[in-house]
């Protein structure tokens, strides 16, 4: 008897929390996404409208723009932090006194509260008063507009994201580097392979599963980035950093167009899921993960 009910008994608390705090809001938002709901404008049409919100979302120029910015942001940030993280992982995999401390210290950026990250970078980026332009001018370079420049604002917020999450990439990739077997490298050395050849044909292929995992985890989180960027630009200037998360916040909490906001959220979630599933299929990641797990 115990064997029969035991597992379910152990799952029950988890299910209770999931249902009360998770499934109810989920269901509510799904339902409300099929409604016109303007709690701040009672004179507006309200009530059940089936998929009208989703149709509106499909033709929403701002939503499409936000999606594009999000894609560009996520792609750039993830690939840059992947390259940097890989480089640092290889660099830090060296036998030197004190390198263990360096490996710990470099984790700090990912541990800082996102709001504080946004505030700090906003001070540093200030083109007139910030320390970054000060240092540039010190070495004779012209100060940049950073967050206040139409051309550089997106790059600037990407830099912050890369700064914050390269340590995450490093951490995972470093673990990957450490777990590689020795023999292929010995063989490559005996064959007289150049360093770049060893890296390209030995290291990288063996690291592939780790890289795939790191990219997947990072991308899913990067898509949802909000606090830092909201603190720095609020989506500006002229919408160049208007990420989906920021647009969603605006529709929900500035316009209080709750039904439409829910529909947009679900649309974004479905797109994200589709992207994740495609990525997983392509890399065969989940199969491996669940087999391992």
């Amino acid at each position: 008897m115990r064997e029969r009910y035991g597992p379910w008994l152990m799952l029950t608390p988890c299910f209770i929390v999931l249902f009360v705090v998770g499934i109810y809001p989920l269901g509510y938002s799904l339902w409300i996404s099929l409604n016109a709901y303007h709690p701040t404008n009672p004179s507006f049409p309200q009530g059940f409208i089936l998929f009208e919100n989703y149709v509106t979302a499909f033709f929403d120029e701002r939503a499409r723009h936000a999606l594009g910015v999000t894609a560009l942001f996520t792609f750039s940030s993830v690939s840059l932090s992947l390259v940097l993280g890989m480089g640092i992982a290889l660099l830090f995999n060296i036998r030197l006194p004190g390198v263990a401390i360096a490996r710990a210290l470099i984790l700090i950026p990912m541990l800082v509260t996102p709001i504080a990250v946004g505030i700090t970078w906003r001070i540093m980026y200030n083109p007139e008063l910030g320390v970054i332009n000060y240092l540039l001018r010190l070495v004779g370079l012209p100060g940049q507009g950073w967050l206040g420049s139409m051309n550089q604002a997106l790059l600037s917020v990407i830099i912050v994201d890369v700064w914050q999450w390269t340590p995450f990439m490093f951490l995972i990739l470093f673990a990957g580097v450490r777990s590689l077997p020795k023999s292929p490298f010995e063989a490559a050395a005996i064959d007289g392979a150049a360093r770049w050849q060893t890296f390209l044909y030995v290291t990288l292929p063996m690291m592939r599963p780790v890289i795939v995992l790191a990219v997947l985890l990072r991308a899913v989180d990067s898509v949802r980035t909000f606090d830092q960027i909201f603190m720095m630009t609020r989506g500006g200037p002229n919408l160049v950093t208007d990420l989906a998360s920021i647009y969603l916040h605006r529709v929900n909490f500035k316009f209080f167009d709750i039904g439409y906001g829910a529909a947009l959220s679900w649309a974004f979630l479905i797109l994200l899921l589709a992207a994740v599933i495609a990525f997983i299929r392509y890399t065969g990641f989940l199969r491996r993960a669940t087999e391992a797990g």
């Binding site: 115990r2 152990m10 799952l11 608390p13 988890c14 929390v17 999931l18 009360v20 705090v21 998770g22 109810y24 989920l26 509510y28 938002s29 290889l90 660099l91 060296i94 390198v99 263990a100 360096a102 710990a104 700090i108 541990l111 509260t113 709001i115 504080a116 505030i119 700090t120 001070i123 200030n126 008063l129 320390v131 700064w163 995972i172 673990a175 450490r178 590689l180 020795k182 490298f185 490559a188 050395a189 150049a194 360093r195 995992l213 985890l217 606090d227 603190m231 998360s245 916040h249 929900n252 709750i258 906001g261 829910a262 959220s265 979630l269 994200l272 993960a289 669940t290 391992a292 797990g293």
Partner: protein, 295 residues
Amino acid sequence: MSTERAAHDFPIGLGGAPRSYVMRRTGATVLAASAILLVLTVFLFPYYWMVTSAFKAAGDVTAYPPIWLFEPTLENFRELFEDLGGLEALRNSLIVVGVSTCLALIIGSMAAYALARYDIKGKETIALEILLVRMLPPIVSVIPLFLLAKKFGLFDTYTILIAIYTLMGLPFVVWVMRVFTQEIPRSIEEAALIDGCTRLQVLFRITLPLMLPGLAATVVIVFMFAWNEYLFATMLTSSHAKTLPVVAAVTVKPRAISWGVSSAAGVLMSVPVIVLALLAQRYLVRGLTFGVIKD
């Protein structure tokens, strides 16, 4: 474990040559050391800037040219604690995040154990659904949860935040602990069962101690997400249960951000996370990768 494992004799990628050869090339070592220092400088500078800003006087934070040497002042921390209720918020944060982290660990480990050990129909689906909850943008849950909290008198209480943060942490715990549980050989448990222990006794006396590294890996992640969470904390609390991120946000004033106080809040908030992360550093990778990658 990992950290005791020696570095590779063949530095992967940096060189395809035997170690003795590398060692002879002290030039390369010096180069690598300076590169490491450079990387550290770049990555730590913003944090250094935040910490020093926290100890600067009001006008000095935005002074131009930037001030490098200054007389440290505790004024920002005084304002944070005395005027903005930072101490109370710190206490609230510790209670809310502490309790929800423990709850998530207990509830999640039990579920993970069940999923890993028993033959449950559709357990992959269950696991995926648990993960899905985490991916939904939190913004859509705020309004329903606000209404729910109001209806049941949970608004501005620890309870509602604890419930939400427990939920936020669960997917991590379930996924990571599932992997950790599977690595514990069944034979140990079976032996205990034969000796007359009940399943629960086996879980608490045998398996749980073996799961400790896994718990260490997850605790940092669960703690970190709850500790930094702002949206729910600001919308679902008022004067009694507000947490540190809410106070940190209040330092961003519409007229002039109190940059110094904001930085002080940032420092105060980052310290517990950094300490926890450094304590559990060797388990961090597994936690962050849902248990898939072993360091």
